[in-house]
């Protein structure tokens, strides 16, 4: 530590540059993590808000809930409890005095699991099937309480009576309404009654042609969801590797330059361990300072970016990324540490 701090103090430019580079990389990692999470939430936020763990739908829907069509019979054959809810999901176009907007209609039944999970942020509860609640995102797009809107193939218009927080399903904002509106919005024949059943427990007796999915399976079946996540994980992983390599190169060059002095210190009896700990503290300081600066940059970013950018800064995820970066730094220090442990004073002091 002592040597490191003094070296940093003497070589401010050198360390300033490396900290700048690592700061930029870790800032990029943080932003990408926030973006990955923000985009993921455009798929997951509504389902997560319901607090459910499993979903059942017809097996030929192939895991895509909005493609699932359950018949009245299938619904009746399924025993629902207070831990489950019959749900109708329909991607739709919202027509109003504004230009058309894509949204996902979620049909629920009064006082079922989902209905009870809904929290109004503004307005009043729908009193009948002619009234709906909309995601606050739609209010940002110009829809207001009191607007009459037309949804899909539904013959009558419905009235917006309240907002819920920003909730999305498969990249589009949700509209909560009565399950009875689901079939006409989707424009399917009378025999169909709902899309599927969401629930909080794994056990459910239901008709044989229904298939069970966990929440994670449901998300992974959403178009684009897993491809997008894999892309982000790849990019973030790659950036971590890059920062490990940069730290390794930097420390390697510094250590190579210092070998004669390190050798003399070894000759004077300074333990190798002391020099190794010194290099490790060097890495840790570089990484921690960089991570802290980029965390501050992230704070500023949160403050500056428009709400429409799908970024979500989750402290847990970012802490994980920060720990990843610091571990990366330690990995980068392996090469110089090996050099130090192998220094033979004689080879440097020679004759």
């Amino acid at each position: 530590m002592y040597l490191t701090l003094n070296e940093m103090n003497k070589e401010k430019l050198r360390y300033g540059l490396i900290i700048t580079v690592i700061t930029l990389i870790s800032y990029l990692i943080f932003i990408l993590s926030a973006l990955a999470l923000g985009l993921a939430q455009q798929n997951t936020s509504a389902v997560n808000d319901w607090g459910v763990t499993h979903v059942s739908m017809t097996s030929d829907a192939n895991g895509n809930l909005s493609q699932s069509l359950m018949t009245r019979e299938e619904v009746l054959n399924t025993k629902t409890t207070e831990h489950s809810a019959i749900i109708g999901v329909a991607p739709t176009i919202v027509k109003s005095h504004k230009s058309p907007i894509s949204a996902t209609f979620i049909g629920t039944q009064k006082n079922d699991l989902i209905d009870k999970s809904i929290r109004l942020t503004k307005g009043t509860w729908p009193k009948n099937q002619y009234e709906v609640l909309i995601s606050s995102e739609l209010s940002q797009k110009g829809l207001n309480i009191g607007d009459k809107i037309k949804l899909g193939m539904l013959s009558h218009s419905v009235l917006v009576v309240g907002y819920v927080k920003k909730l999305e399903y498969n990249m589009s904002p949700v509209i909560y309404g009565d399950l009875n509106n689901w079939r006409p919005i989707k424009g399917v024949s009378d025999q169909f009654y709902a899309s599927g059943i969401v629930r909080k427990d794994a056990k459910l007796t239901h008709a044989t042609n229904l298939k069970n999915y966990t929440k994670a399976q449901l998300f992974n079946k959403m178009p684009g969801y897993s491809a997008q996540n894999k892309t982000f994980i790849f990019m973030i992983g790659f950036l971590l590797v890059i920062s490990a390599v940069i730290v390794a190169i930097f420390l390697y060059i510094l250590t190579i330059q210092k070998i004669p002095n390190l050798a003399v210190l070894r000759a004077q009896g300074v333990p190798g361990k002391y020099l190794v700990l010194n290099t490790l503290s060097e890495t840790l300081i570089i990484m921690i300072v960089s991570v802290l600066i980029s965390a501050i940059l992230c704070g500023i970013t949160v403050w500056l970016i428009p709400a429409s950018v799908p970024m979500f800064f989750d402290i847990k995820l970012l802490s994980l990324a920060a720990i990843g970066l610091i571990l990366t730094g330690i990995i980068g220090a392996i090469v110089p540490v090996r050099i130090i442990t192998k220094i033979d004073p004689i080879s440097v002091i020679g004759g």
Partner: protein, 223 residues
């Protein structure tokens, strides 16, 4: 009374045609209270002798004895500890850490060896005597060659070691300074009970020596 002895030490480098015998059946002794000089042409094996004496490398054959202990039986850790506590090295170059001020060179010693170092009074006295007490806030790259060498000498003395092994410690000093450094080493040997071994080309140091060895082509003779 402590001593470092080489008994029938041979050290060679390389194999076959390129084999160099740096030390050829050497017997050598450095005792406390004595200033021992090693002289000889360059390439004759002086530095090799000094580093073997200080436990930095081991001979191919023969013994290195610290009183009655054979240094070649030391583990790496023990050798480190022995050097840190008992040897004051002045090496031919790179003695100072480039990013530490002169003052901090000594603070570093305190970090790795917190006990048994010079009292601050004695330390100040040495700094004054070596004419470097005004250089404490300077970095090595701000020092002249002579100043660097004098700081290196102070650095070697700082741990208050039993043995001081110096490899051409006065090569960058002017005559007046050589004289002073020789006197300092002599008085440290005599008054502080240290064994001082100096490799030098400098004839002016001879008059202070208690013992002089000459090495030529790896063979040693006592004068």
């Amino acid at each position: 009374m402590t001593s470092l002895k080489l008994i029938d030490v041979t050290k060679s480098f390389g194999i076959g045609e390129s084999k160099v015998t740096a030390l050829d059946h050497i017997n050598f002794e450095a005792n406390s209270k004595e200033l021992t000089l090693i002289v000889g042409p360059s390439g004759s094996g002086k530095s090799t002798l000094l580093t073997i004496l200080g436990g930095l490398q081991s001979p191919n054959s023969g013994q290195v004895l610290l009183d009655k202990t054979d240094l070649s039986h030391f583990s790496k850790k023990q050798a480190d500890k022995f050097r840190l506590n008992n040897i004051g090295f002045v090496l031919q170059s790179y003695n100072l850490v480039p990013y530490l001020t002169v003052k901090k060179q000594f603070d570093l010693v305190e970090k790795v060896k917190p006990e048994g170092n010079l009292s601050s009074d004695t330390f100040k006295k040495y700094l004054e005597y070596l004419g470097i007490s005004k250089l404490l806030s300077k970095y090595p790259d701000q020092l002249s060659g002579g100043q660097t060498q004098r700081v290196a000498i102070a650095r070697a003395l700082y741990t208050n070691p039993q043995f001081i092994l110096a490899d051409e410690p006065t090569s960058a000093l002017d005559s007046a300074r050589v004289e002073e450094v020789a006197k300092l080493f002599k008085s440290i040997a005599e008054n502080e009970n240290k064994a001082v071994v100096i490799v030098t080309h400098d004839l002016r140091m001879r008059e202070y020596a208690d013992k002089i060895y000459e090495i030529v082509d790896g063979k040693i003779s006592k004068k």
